[in-house]
């Protein structure tokens, strides 16, 4: 058997997608955020899973980290947020969020110094 019999493909584990994107199973439609080789709902292979933009979510918990690793802003405002079946931890634009707040991704920020790309941060949704 040669190497060409087993072509290497870029599965989700190798895909660097924007912070506001979740993977979606092309078989059952289930969404997930943290890379997997297979859909956690139906087990379908995730190599070709498309991504979908996350719209509005609800804050579950927040923290502001004062002691941050190299190349990360201090303080680093973080929120645990639920977008339907998808739950994730992401940087918030500021420290004003509280559990229960509705949020969306917005803006363009370098999340760690030295990174080429930029990503959106979480901001409160104005319901007024």
């Amino acid at each position: 058997m040669t190497g060409s019999d087993h072509p290497v493909t870029d599965g989700p584990a190798d895909r660097d997608v924007p912070a506001d994107r979740a993977f979606v199973c092309d078989d059952c439609g289930h969404r997930w955020y943290y890379d997997r080789r297979r859909c956690p709902a139906c087990g379908h292979g995730a190599e070709s899973a498309a991504t979908v933009r996350l719209e509005t979510g609800a804050v579950v918990a927040t923290t502001t980290v004062e002691t941050t690793p190299p190349d990360v802003r201090a303080p680093n405002h973080l929120a645990l947020v639920r977008f339907d079946e998808v739950q994730l931890i992401a940087q918030a634009a500021d420290g004003d969020l509280s559990p229960g707040d509705r949020v969306r991704f917005d803006g363009s920020h370098r999340l760690r110094d030295g990174r080429e790309r930029t990503d959106p941060r979480l901001v409160a949704v104005d319901d007024s």
Partner: protein
């Protein structure tokens, strides 16, 4: 004690040894490991030539440029000629995983005498390097957001206090209790008593967690000698505590994937498995070492393991139930918080502490009275993997 309690593994802890845990040891990693190993061999009165398996736990050697082949080098240094040897790595649960490997080898008949050593020298790198190495333990997409282990602690602590309407003092009480337990422990990194106000006034790390809610970076080593369980060993020494059960379980790698931020499935599953394996219930445990990398983890783990109902461990802590003289003494040696947390050694230092407690060879100020059944949990990351052990006198 439950009538169904068993010594299911048929393995006993014949001897233990450890170095003091320190913030900046003068000793090299290999020297720390060898010192703890020689202490355990001497305690067991077993000659190095009788060891046929060496399992060496270390988490950060490559990240801190401390080399590879650690187990082979230690085997040679100790004179374990011909013994099998390997290295175990399971991040902050490395020590307990190495212990389990040793138990498994004897239980399956692959070895008669196993030496298990855990060592870490976190001061080998500068703070930036160590912080970066530890921050790499999280999921790739979490890393991109600057998420760290204390970040998880802050999120969980905020959720715990909010959901259970608990006062901030409940977290500080965990820190004060574990510091008090370390004052008379000669191997503890922080032998300094603090009160609740000290903890509440310390600098914020990841709100609401403050400095005294977080374990330190540490250097140190711990070791145990395991043999087949008999009433008396070949040299006529009384038998040591028996390994009644070992079990582990993985959880989600990404912490955010857990449906409930206060739920750590790996802790609950590993606990259920080890209690089943040992034939006991949480109520049968006389003393416990709980992985308190952050104060809130001690509370969550106690609840996940069934020692307390959800949302009640904080009240039990404030009531003194988990103090040295309480109904369930927790972290009598100071825990990760005050004894220290050299990643590869921590799980074994829990075993060492529990062996000392079960043998009763500690001064009265350190001793849990009449302890017969002991429990330990060592956790990787923020619950990616949990490793539980039950020992019986």
């Amino acid at each position: 004690m439950a009538s169904s309690a068993t010594d299911s593994t048929g393995v006993r802890v014949a001897g233990v040894g450890m170095t003091p845990f320190e913030s900046d040891s003068e000793r090299a990693l290999a020297d720390l490991a060898a010192t703890a190993a020689e202490g355990a061999l001497a305690d067991a009165a077993i000659d190095p030539g009788d060891v046929d398996a060496l399992h060496f736990g270390n988490a950060l050697a490559e990240a801190l440029d401390e080399g590879a082949g650690l187990a082979n080098a230690l085997a040679a240094a100790l004179g374990l000629d011909g013994a099998s040897a390997d290295r175990i790595e399971n991040t902050s649960a490395t020590g307990a995983s190495a212990f389990h490997r040793g138990v498994d080898r004897i239980e399956k008949g692959d070895a008669d005498t196993a030496l298990v050593v855990g060592a870490e020298k976190m001061s080998a790198g500068d703070t930036r390097d160590v912080t970066e190495a530890i921050s790499r333990l999280v999921h790739r997409r979490e890393y991109a957001q600057g998420v760290t282990l204390p970040s998880f602690g802050g999120l969980a602590a905020g959720a715990y206090l909010d959901r259970h309407d608990a006062p901030r003092e409940a977290l500080a009480a965990v820190a004060a209790k574990n510091h008090a337990n370390a004052v008379d422990n000669p191997v503890a990194q922080f032998r300094k008593s603090i009160d609740v106000e000290d903890a509440l006034d310390s600098p914020v790390v990841a709100a609401p967690l403050r400095l005294y809610d977080c374990c330190p970076m540490s250097d140190g080593a711990a070791a145990v000698v395991l043999t087949r369980a008999t009433d008396e060993d070949d040299a006529g020494h009384p038998a040591g505590p028996r390994v009644a059960g070992t079990a582990s379980a993985t959880g989600t790698h990404a912490v955010a994937e857990r449906p409930d931020p206060l739920s750590i499935d790996s802790v609950r599953t590993a606990g259920e498995r080890v209690f089943d394996s040992a034939g006991i219930a949480p109520d049968d445990v006389d003393v416990a070492c709980i992985h308190d990398a952050f104060t809130v983890l001690e509370l969550i783990e106690l609840e996940e393991l069934g020692f307390y109902d959800p949302g009640t461990a904080w009240e039990a802590t404030l009531d003194g139930d988990t103090a040295l003289d309480g109904d369930l003494p927790v972290n009598p040696g100071g825990g990760l918080k005050a004894r220290g947390h050299p990643l590869g050694a921590t799980g074994l230092s829990q075993i060492v502490e529990l062996v000392w407690q079960l043998r009763g060879d500690l001064p009265e100020s350190r001793r849990v009275n009449d302890a017969e059944t002991a429990f330990a949990i060592n956790v990787a990351g923020f619950g990616n993997n949990s490793v539980c052990t039950v020992l019986r006198a």
